[in-house]
Protein backbone atom coordinates (compact mmCIF):
# COMPACT_ATOMS: atom_id res chain seq x y z
CA UNK A 1 0.00 0.00 0.00
CA UNK A 2 2.74 2.45 0.94
CA UNK A 3 4.59 1.48 -2.22
CA UNK A 4 1.78 2.63 -4.41
CA UNK A 5 1.68 5.93 -2.55
CA UNK A 6 5.35 6.54 -3.28
CA UNK A 7 6.28 5.36 -6.74
CA UNK A 8 9.94 4.44 -7.23
CA UNK A 9 10.14 6.63 -10.29
CA UNK A 10 7.96 9.59 -10.96
CA UNK A 11 8.28 11.63 -14.13
CA UNK A 12 6.18 14.80 -14.17
CA UNK A 13 5.65 17.08 -17.13
CA UNK A 14 8.97 16.18 -18.74
CA UNK A 15 9.87 18.45 -21.65
CA UNK A 16 12.95 18.12 -23.82
CA UNK A 17 14.11 20.03 -26.88
CA UNK A 18 16.92 19.41 -29.32
CA UNK A 19 17.43 22.95 -30.62
CA UNK A 20 13.99 24.02 -31.74
CA UNK A 21 12.64 20.50 -32.09
CA UNK A 22 10.50 19.41 -29.17
CA UNK A 23 11.04 15.69 -28.61
CA UNK A 24 9.26 15.31 -25.27
CA UNK A 25 6.14 17.41 -24.81
CA UNK A 26 5.18 16.96 -21.21
CA UNK A 27 5.53 13.30 -20.27
CA UNK A 28 4.04 11.93 -17.05
CA UNK A 29 4.94 8.42 -16.01
CA UNK A 30 5.20 6.64 -12.69
CA UNK A 31 6.72 3.26 -11.86
CA UNK A 32 6.31 1.29 -8.69
CA UNK A 33 8.96 -0.88 -7.21
CA UNK A 34 9.15 -4.28 -8.95
CA UNK A 35 7.04 -3.06 -11.81
CA UNK A 36 8.04 -3.82 -15.39
CA UNK A 37 6.91 -1.19 -17.87
CA UNK A 38 7.52 -1.35 -21.61
CA UNK A 39 7.41 1.70 -23.83
CA UNK A 40 6.39 1.07 -27.43
CA UNK A 41 6.00 3.47 -30.32
CA UNK A 42 7.46 4.27 -33.71
CA UNK A 43 10.99 5.60 -34.23
CA UNK A 44 11.30 9.25 -33.31
CA UNK A 45 8.47 9.12 -30.80
CA UNK A 46 10.86 10.04 -27.97
CA UNK A 47 11.09 6.66 -26.22
CA UNK A 48 14.86 6.44 -26.15
CA UNK A 49 15.22 10.13 -25.26
CA UNK A 50 12.91 9.55 -22.30
CA UNK A 51 15.16 6.76 -21.00
CA UNK A 52 18.26 8.88 -21.51
CA UNK A 53 16.69 11.72 -19.52
CA UNK A 54 15.97 9.35 -16.64
CA UNK A 55 19.62 8.27 -16.68
CA UNK A 56 20.71 11.94 -16.92
CA UNK A 57 22.59 11.30 -20.17
CA UNK A 58 20.42 14.04 -21.67
CA UNK A 59 19.56 17.40 -20.18
CA UNK A 60 15.91 18.37 -20.21
CA UNK A 61 14.25 21.76 -20.19
CA UNK A 62 11.15 21.24 -18.10
CA UNK A 63 9.50 18.94 -15.61
CA UNK A 64 10.85 16.78 -12.81
CA UNK A 65 12.18 13.29 -12.45
CA UNK A 66 11.93 11.92 -8.92
CA UNK A 67 13.73 8.67 -8.15
CA UNK A 68 13.03 7.07 -4.80
CA UNK A 69 12.02 10.43 -3.34
CA UNK A 70 15.00 12.37 -4.72
CA UNK A 71 14.62 14.92 -7.51
CA UNK A 72 17.42 14.12 -9.92
CA UNK A 73 19.53 16.13 -12.32
CA UNK A 74 18.53 19.63 -11.29
CA UNK A 75 18.14 21.87 -8.30
CA UNK A 76 15.99 24.96 -7.99
CA UNK A 77 17.52 28.10 -6.61
CA UNK A 78 15.62 31.41 -6.49
CA UNK A 79 13.09 30.13 -8.98
CA UNK A 80 15.67 29.00 -11.56
CA UNK A 81 16.71 25.45 -12.43
CA UNK A 82 20.35 24.52 -12.40
CA UNK A 83 21.99 21.30 -13.57
CA UNK A 84 23.73 19.81 -10.52
CA UNK A 85 27.48 19.15 -10.28
CA UNK A 86 29.08 16.26 -12.15
CA UNK A 87 29.90 14.41 -8.95
CA UNK A 88 26.25 14.49 -7.83
CA UNK A 89 25.03 13.56 -11.31
CA UNK A 90 27.32 10.53 -11.23
CA UNK A 91 26.02 9.44 -7.84
CA UNK A 92 22.42 9.72 -9.06
CA UNK A 93 23.28 7.87 -12.27
CA UNK A 94 24.64 4.97 -10.29
CA UNK A 95 21.13 4.47 -8.83
CA UNK A 96 19.89 3.47 -12.28
CA UNK A 97 21.36 0.85 -14.57
CA UNK A 98 21.32 1.28 -18.32
CA UNK A 99 21.61 -1.33 -21.04
CA UNK A 100 22.21 0.10 -24.48
CA UNK A 101 21.08 -0.99 -27.91
CA UNK A 102 24.68 -1.40 -29.11
CA UNK A 103 26.01 -3.03 -25.87
CA UNK A 104 28.78 -0.44 -25.42
CA UNK A 105 31.07 -2.76 -23.51
CA UNK A 106 34.47 -1.39 -22.56
CA UNK A 107 36.58 -2.98 -25.32
CA UNK A 108 39.84 -2.94 -23.36
CA UNK A 109 38.41 -4.93 -20.45
CA UNK A 110 37.38 -8.56 -20.18
CA UNK A 111 33.78 -9.50 -19.47
CA UNK A 112 34.60 -9.67 -15.76
CA UNK A 113 36.54 -6.40 -16.01
CA UNK A 114 33.50 -4.71 -17.54
CA UNK A 115 31.34 -5.76 -14.62
CA UNK A 116 34.02 -4.94 -12.05
CA UNK A 117 34.85 -1.39 -13.13
CA UNK A 118 31.81 0.25 -11.54
CA UNK A 119 32.06 -1.95 -8.46
CA UNK A 120 35.68 -0.89 -7.95
CA UNK A 121 35.56 2.79 -8.87
CA UNK A 122 32.01 3.81 -8.01
CA UNK A 123 31.11 1.50 -5.16
CA UNK A 124 34.78 1.35 -4.12
CA UNK A 125 34.82 -2.38 -3.36
CA UNK A 126 38.06 -4.31 -3.01
CA UNK A 127 39.31 -6.37 -5.94
CA UNK A 128 38.33 -9.75 -4.50
CA UNK A 129 34.85 -8.67 -3.51
CA UNK A 130 34.27 -7.01 -6.89
CA UNK A 131 35.47 -10.12 -8.70
CA UNK A 132 33.18 -12.36 -6.67
CA UNK A 133 30.17 -10.17 -7.46
CA UNK A 134 31.14 -9.98 -11.14
CA UNK A 135 31.51 -13.75 -11.38
CA UNK A 136 28.18 -14.28 -9.67
CA UNK A 137 26.44 -11.95 -12.12
CA UNK A 138 28.16 -13.45 -15.16
CA UNK A 139 26.96 -16.82 -13.93
CA UNK A 140 23.49 -15.38 -13.51
CA UNK A 141 23.37 -14.36 -17.20
CA UNK A 142 24.79 -17.73 -18.27
CA UNK A 143 28.37 -16.62 -18.96
CA UNK A 144 30.23 -18.17 -16.03
CA UNK A 145 32.89 -19.53 -18.39
CA UNK A 146 33.40 -16.28 -20.29
CA UNK A 147 34.76 -13.97 -17.60
CA UNK A 148 38.22 -13.77 -19.15
CA UNK A 149 37.01 -13.13 -22.68
CA UNK A 150 37.25 -9.72 -24.28
CA UNK A 151 34.13 -8.23 -25.88
CA UNK A 152 35.57 -8.82 -29.36
CA UNK A 153 35.71 -12.54 -28.55
CA UNK A 154 32.01 -12.71 -27.65
CA UNK A 155 28.89 -12.92 -29.80
CA UNK A 156 26.44 -10.00 -29.82
CA UNK A 157 24.06 -11.86 -27.55
CA UNK A 158 26.85 -12.67 -25.11
CA UNK A 159 28.05 -9.06 -25.15
CA UNK A 160 24.56 -7.83 -24.37
CA UNK A 161 24.27 -10.28 -21.48
CA UNK A 162 27.59 -8.97 -20.12
CA UNK A 163 26.13 -5.47 -20.41
CA UNK A 164 23.10 -6.62 -18.42
CA UNK A 165 25.37 -8.12 -15.76
CA UNK A 166 27.39 -4.89 -15.68
CA UNK A 167 24.25 -2.82 -15.08
CA UNK A 168 22.72 -5.15 -12.48
CA UNK A 169 25.93 -5.73 -10.52
CA UNK A 170 25.73 -2.11 -9.40
CA UNK A 171 22.51 -3.02 -7.58
CA UNK A 172 20.48 -0.22 -9.17
CA UNK A 173 17.02 0.73 -7.96
CA UNK A 174 15.82 0.86 -11.55
CA UNK A 175 17.11 -0.70 -14.76
CA UNK A 176 16.61 1.01 -18.12
CA UNK A 177 16.75 -1.17 -21.23
CA UNK A 178 17.02 0.66 -24.52
CA UNK A 179 16.08 -1.57 -27.47
CA UNK A 180 18.47 -4.20 -26.16
CA UNK A 181 17.82 -6.67 -28.99
CA UNK A 182 17.68 -4.30 -31.96
CA UNK A 183 21.35 -4.71 -32.88
CA UNK A 184 21.34 -8.49 -32.60
CA UNK A 185 21.19 -11.18 -35.24
CA UNK A 186 17.72 -12.78 -35.13
CA UNK A 187 18.96 -16.08 -33.70
CA UNK A 188 20.57 -14.27 -30.74
CA UNK A 189 17.53 -12.23 -29.72
CA UNK A 190 15.87 -14.92 -27.63
CA UNK A 191 18.81 -15.55 -25.28
CA UNK A 192 18.86 -11.86 -24.34
CA UNK A 193 15.08 -11.68 -23.93
CA UNK A 194 15.19 -14.76 -21.70
CA UNK A 195 17.81 -13.07 -19.55
CA UNK A 196 15.70 -9.94 -19.20
CA UNK A 197 12.66 -12.07 -18.40
CA UNK A 198 14.47 -13.91 -15.63
CA UNK A 199 15.67 -10.63 -14.12
CA UNK A 200 12.11 -9.32 -14.19
CA UNK A 201 10.94 -12.53 -12.48
CA UNK A 202 13.52 -11.91 -9.74
CA UNK A 203 11.81 -8.66 -8.85
CA UNK A 204 13.89 -6.00 -10.61
CA UNK A 205 12.18 -2.76 -11.57
CA UNK A 206 12.49 -2.36 -15.32
CA UNK A 207 11.69 0.40 -17.78
CA UNK A 208 12.02 -1.10 -21.24
CA UNK A 209 12.02 0.48 -24.68
CA UNK A 210 11.39 -2.25 -27.21
CA UNK A 211 10.21 -3.13 -30.67
CA UNK A 212 9.54 -6.74 -29.64
CA UNK A 213 5.78 -6.62 -29.16
CA UNK A 214 5.41 -10.21 -28.07
CA UNK A 215 8.12 -9.70 -25.48
CA UNK A 216 6.51 -6.49 -24.21
CA UNK A 217 3.25 -8.36 -23.80
CA UNK A 218 4.88 -11.31 -21.99
CA UNK A 219 7.17 -9.51 -19.58
CA UNK A 220 5.39 -6.25 -18.70
CA UNK A 221 2.93 -5.29 -16.00
CA UNK A 222 2.14 -2.20 -18.02
CA UNK A 223 2.72 -1.03 -21.55
CA UNK A 224 3.01 2.62 -22.54
CA UNK A 225 2.44 3.78 -26.09
CA UNK A 226 4.30 6.95 -27.07
CA UNK A 227 3.89 9.08 -30.14
CA UNK A 228 5.39 12.44 -31.04
CA UNK A 229 6.82 13.06 -27.62
CA UNK A 230 3.70 12.23 -25.67
CA UNK A 231 2.24 9.25 -23.91
CA UNK A 232 -0.91 8.32 -25.77
CA UNK A 233 -1.93 5.19 -23.88
CA UNK A 234 -0.84 3.52 -20.66
CA UNK A 235 -2.35 0.26 -19.47
CA UNK A 236 -2.00 -3.47 -18.88
CA UNK A 237 -0.61 -5.37 -21.88
CA UNK A 238 -3.85 -7.22 -22.50
CA UNK A 239 -5.66 -3.92 -22.90
CA UNK A 240 -2.99 -2.15 -24.94
CA UNK A 241 -2.58 -5.00 -27.39
CA UNK A 242 -6.09 -6.42 -27.25
CA UNK A 243 -8.23 -3.34 -27.07
CA UNK A 244 -6.43 -0.16 -28.15
CA UNK A 245 -8.54 2.92 -27.40
CA UNK A 246 -6.85 5.36 -29.76
CA UNK A 247 -6.78 5.30 -33.53
CA UNK A 248 -3.01 5.89 -33.48
CA UNK A 249 -2.20 2.89 -31.32
CA UNK A 250 -4.48 0.66 -33.39
CA UNK A 251 -2.67 1.80 -36.50
CA UNK A 252 0.76 1.32 -34.92
CA UNK A 253 -0.11 -2.22 -33.87
CA UNK A 254 -1.44 -3.03 -37.30
CA UNK A 255 1.80 -1.85 -38.89
CA UNK A 256 4.08 -3.74 -36.51
CA UNK A 257 2.19 -7.02 -36.69
CA UNK A 258 4.29 -9.58 -38.48
Amino acid sequence: MTETLHPLLEIRGLRKQFGTVEVLKGVDLALNKREVVSIIGSSGSGKTTLLRCVNLLEEFQGGDIVLDGETIGYRISKGRRYRIRDRDLSRQRSMTGMVFQSFNLFPHLTAAGNVMLGLRKVRRLGRDEARAIAEAWLGRVGLAQRGDHYPSQLSGGQQQRVAIARALAMDPKLVLLDEVTSALDPELVQEVLNTVKSIADDGATLLIVTHEMRFARDVSNRVVFMEQGQIVEDGPPAEIFGNPRSQRLAEFLRNTRT
Binding site: L57, S90, R93, G97, F100, F106, P107, Y150
Partner: protein, 219 residues
Protein backbone atom coordinates in the same frame (compact mmCIF):
# COMPACT_ATOMS: atom_id res chain seq x y z
CA UNK B 1 91.33 8.28 -57.60
CA UNK B 2 89.48 5.78 -55.41
CA UNK B 3 88.40 5.97 -51.79
CA UNK B 4 89.30 2.84 -49.87
CA UNK B 5 87.38 2.07 -46.71
CA UNK B 6 89.30 1.81 -43.43
CA UNK B 7 87.09 1.22 -40.43
CA UNK B 8 89.91 0.71 -37.95
CA UNK B 9 89.90 4.28 -36.67
CA UNK B 10 86.13 4.16 -36.22
CA UNK B 11 86.19 0.94 -34.21
CA UNK B 12 88.81 2.53 -31.96
CA UNK B 13 86.28 5.21 -31.05
CA UNK B 14 83.24 2.96 -31.21
CA UNK B 15 82.58 3.28 -27.48
CA UNK B 16 82.11 7.02 -27.95
CA UNK B 17 79.49 6.37 -30.62
CA UNK B 18 77.75 3.92 -28.33
CA UNK B 19 77.71 6.35 -25.43
CA UNK B 20 76.41 8.97 -27.85
CA UNK B 21 73.65 6.60 -28.85
CA UNK B 22 72.80 6.03 -25.19
CA UNK B 23 72.65 9.77 -24.54
CA UNK B 24 70.39 10.27 -27.56
CA UNK B 25 68.06 7.53 -26.35
CA UNK B 26 68.05 9.02 -22.86
CA UNK B 27 67.19 12.47 -24.21
CA UNK B 28 64.43 11.08 -26.40
CA UNK B 29 62.91 8.97 -23.62
CA UNK B 30 62.89 11.87 -21.15
CA UNK B 31 61.45 14.24 -23.74
CA UNK B 32 58.81 11.78 -24.94
CA UNK B 33 57.69 11.04 -21.37
CA UNK B 34 57.13 14.74 -20.69
CA UNK B 35 55.77 15.20 -24.20
CA UNK B 36 53.27 12.38 -23.67
CA UNK B 37 52.01 14.10 -20.55
CA UNK B 38 51.74 17.43 -22.41
CA UNK B 39 50.11 15.74 -25.39
CA UNK B 40 47.51 13.93 -23.27
CA UNK B 41 46.67 17.15 -21.45
CA UNK B 42 46.37 19.17 -24.65
CA UNK B 43 44.45 16.41 -26.47
CA UNK B 44 41.84 16.09 -23.71
CA UNK B 45 41.60 19.90 -23.60
CA UNK B 46 41.18 20.10 -27.37
CA UNK B 47 38.11 17.83 -27.33
CA UNK B 48 36.87 19.04 -23.95
CA UNK B 49 33.99 21.33 -23.04
CA UNK B 50 36.13 24.35 -22.09
CA UNK B 51 36.51 26.95 -24.83
CA UNK B 52 39.65 28.34 -23.17
CA UNK B 53 41.12 24.84 -22.97
CA UNK B 54 40.50 24.27 -26.67
CA UNK B 55 42.05 27.63 -27.50
CA UNK B 56 45.20 27.00 -25.47
CA UNK B 57 45.64 23.48 -26.84
CA UNK B 58 45.05 24.67 -30.41
CA UNK B 59 47.51 27.56 -30.11
CA UNK B 60 50.16 25.31 -28.59
CA UNK B 61 49.98 22.84 -31.45
CA UNK B 62 49.89 25.56 -34.09
CA UNK B 63 52.87 27.47 -32.65
CA UNK B 64 55.13 24.48 -32.13
CA UNK B 65 54.34 22.68 -35.35
CA UNK B 66 55.24 25.78 -37.35
CA UNK B 67 58.68 26.05 -35.78
CA UNK B 68 61.64 24.01 -36.97
CA UNK B 69 62.97 21.92 -34.09
CA UNK B 70 66.45 23.43 -34.45
CA UNK B 71 65.05 26.93 -34.00
CA UNK B 72 63.03 25.83 -30.97
CA UNK B 73 66.10 24.22 -29.41
CA UNK B 74 68.20 27.34 -29.93
CA UNK B 75 65.39 29.55 -28.67
CA UNK B 76 65.03 27.57 -25.45
CA UNK B 77 68.80 27.29 -24.98
CA UNK B 78 69.69 30.93 -25.60
CA UNK B 79 66.54 32.87 -24.79
CA UNK B 80 65.42 31.32 -21.51
CA UNK B 81 68.59 32.34 -19.60
CA UNK B 82 67.84 35.94 -20.61
CA UNK B 83 64.48 35.52 -18.93
CA UNK B 84 66.25 34.38 -15.80
CA UNK B 85 65.56 30.67 -16.24
CA UNK B 86 68.86 28.81 -15.96
CA UNK B 87 68.89 25.35 -17.48
CA UNK B 88 71.90 23.29 -18.47
CA UNK B 89 72.08 22.17 -22.09
CA UNK B 90 70.57 18.76 -21.32
CA UNK B 91 67.62 20.24 -19.51
CA UNK B 92 66.99 22.83 -22.16
CA UNK B 93 67.16 20.26 -24.97
CA UNK B 94 64.85 17.86 -23.17
CA UNK B 95 62.50 20.79 -22.57
CA UNK B 96 62.54 21.81 -26.23
CA UNK B 97 62.07 18.26 -27.54
CA UNK B 98 59.32 17.66 -24.97
CA UNK B 99 57.45 20.75 -26.17
CA UNK B 100 57.98 19.67 -29.76
CA UNK B 101 56.94 16.05 -29.31
CA UNK B 102 54.02 17.17 -27.13
CA UNK B 103 52.55 19.09 -30.05
CA UNK B 104 52.76 16.10 -32.39
CA UNK B 105 51.49 13.73 -29.71
CA UNK B 106 48.54 16.06 -29.09
CA UNK B 107 47.42 15.40 -32.64
CA UNK B 108 48.03 11.66 -32.31
CA UNK B 109 46.04 11.49 -29.07
CA UNK B 110 43.33 13.77 -30.37
CA UNK B 111 42.74 11.48 -33.34
CA UNK B 112 42.70 8.57 -30.87
CA UNK B 113 40.14 10.31 -28.68
CA UNK B 114 37.86 10.98 -31.62
CA UNK B 115 38.00 7.27 -32.43
CA UNK B 116 36.60 6.26 -29.02
CA UNK B 117 32.93 5.36 -29.57
CA UNK B 118 30.59 7.81 -27.86
CA UNK B 119 28.46 4.96 -26.56
CA UNK B 120 31.39 3.45 -24.68
CA UNK B 121 31.99 6.75 -22.90
CA UNK B 122 28.28 6.97 -22.08
CA UNK B 123 28.39 3.45 -20.68
CA UNK B 124 31.07 4.65 -18.30
CA UNK B 125 28.94 7.59 -17.20
CA UNK B 126 25.90 5.33 -16.93
CA UNK B 127 27.46 3.10 -14.27
CA UNK B 128 28.17 6.21 -12.23
CA UNK B 129 31.76 7.08 -13.09
CA UNK B 130 32.45 10.81 -12.93
CA UNK B 131 33.65 12.61 -16.04
CA UNK B 132 37.23 12.43 -14.75
CA UNK B 133 37.01 8.73 -13.84
CA UNK B 134 35.56 7.96 -17.25
CA UNK B 135 38.52 9.74 -18.84
CA UNK B 136 41.04 7.75 -16.81
CA UNK B 137 39.47 4.29 -16.86
CA UNK B 138 37.59 4.21 -20.17
CA UNK B 139 38.52 6.92 -22.66
CA UNK B 140 42.30 6.97 -22.12
CA UNK B 141 42.95 3.22 -22.41
CA UNK B 142 40.72 2.81 -25.47
CA UNK B 143 42.34 5.85 -27.06
CA UNK B 144 45.88 4.65 -26.30
CA UNK B 145 45.25 1.28 -27.92
CA UNK B 146 43.84 2.98 -31.00
CA UNK B 147 46.73 5.44 -31.10
CA UNK B 148 49.49 2.85 -30.60
CA UNK B 149 50.56 2.50 -34.27
CA UNK B 150 50.91 6.24 -34.89
CA UNK B 151 52.41 6.64 -31.43
CA UNK B 152 55.23 4.36 -32.56
CA UNK B 153 55.95 6.55 -35.56
CA UNK B 154 56.14 9.65 -33.39
CA UNK B 155 58.47 7.98 -30.87
CA UNK B 156 60.86 6.95 -33.64
CA UNK B 157 60.83 10.48 -35.10
CA UNK B 158 61.59 11.92 -31.68
CA UNK B 159 64.56 9.60 -31.23
CA UNK B 160 65.98 10.63 -34.60
CA UNK B 161 65.39 14.27 -33.69
CA UNK B 162 67.69 13.85 -30.71
CA UNK B 163 70.49 14.35 -33.29
CA UNK B 164 69.60 18.06 -33.23
CA UNK B 165 71.15 18.14 -29.75
CA UNK B 166 74.52 18.18 -31.52
CA UNK B 167 73.80 21.83 -32.29
CA UNK B 168 74.19 22.77 -28.63
CA UNK B 169 77.20 20.49 -28.11
CA UNK B 170 75.50 17.64 -26.33
CA UNK B 171 77.76 14.61 -26.94
CA UNK B 172 75.11 12.37 -28.48
CA UNK B 173 75.63 10.16 -31.50
CA UNK B 174 75.70 12.80 -34.25
CA UNK B 175 77.98 15.07 -32.22
CA UNK B 176 80.41 12.24 -31.51
CA UNK B 177 80.37 11.13 -35.13
CA UNK B 178 81.22 14.64 -36.23
CA UNK B 179 84.15 14.75 -33.81
CA UNK B 180 85.43 11.37 -34.96
CA UNK B 181 85.05 12.53 -38.53
CA UNK B 182 87.18 15.60 -37.85
CA UNK B 183 89.75 13.62 -35.87
CA UNK B 184 90.18 10.77 -38.36
CA UNK B 185 89.10 12.22 -41.71
CA UNK B 186 87.33 8.87 -42.32
CA UNK B 187 84.24 10.67 -43.64
CA UNK B 188 82.39 7.83 -45.28
CA UNK B 189 83.16 5.25 -42.60
CA UNK B 190 82.12 7.54 -39.77
CA UNK B 191 78.76 8.42 -41.21
CA UNK B 192 78.11 4.89 -42.42
CA UNK B 193 78.62 3.55 -38.91
CA UNK B 194 76.58 6.35 -37.34
CA UNK B 195 73.77 5.69 -39.82
CA UNK B 196 73.93 1.99 -39.06
CA UNK B 197 73.55 2.71 -35.37
CA UNK B 198 70.53 4.97 -35.94
CA UNK B 199 68.84 2.40 -38.15
CA UNK B 200 69.51 -0.41 -35.68
CA UNK B 201 68.20 1.61 -32.74
CA UNK B 202 65.05 2.68 -34.61
CA UNK B 203 64.46 -0.89 -35.70
CA UNK B 204 64.72 -2.02 -32.07
CA UNK B 205 62.27 0.67 -30.93
CA UNK B 206 59.83 -0.26 -33.70
CA UNK B 207 60.01 -3.95 -32.81
CA UNK B 208 59.39 -3.18 -29.16
CA UNK B 209 56.34 -1.07 -30.00
CA UNK B 210 55.02 -3.71 -32.36
CA UNK B 211 55.27 -6.29 -29.58
CA UNK B 212 53.23 -3.92 -27.39
CA UNK B 213 50.60 -3.72 -30.11
CA UNK B 214 50.40 -7.50 -30.15
CA UNK B 215 50.18 -7.74 -26.38
CA UNK B 216 47.17 -5.50 -26.02
CA UNK B 217 43.94 -6.96 -27.33
CA UNK B 218 42.57 -5.69 -30.61
CA UNK B 219 39.11 -4.27 -30.28
Amino acid sequence: MGYSLHFGAIWASFDRLLSGLAIGLGLAIAAVLIGTFLGLLAAFASVGPSRLGRLIAGSYVMMIRNLPLLVLVLLVYFALPQAGIRLDKYESFIGALALYSGAYLTEVFRAGLLSVPKGVVEAGRAIGLTRFQTGIWVTAPVMLRNALPSLGNTFISMFKDSSIAAAIAIPELTFEARKINVDTFRVVETWLVASGLYVAACFAIASFLRSLERRFPKF
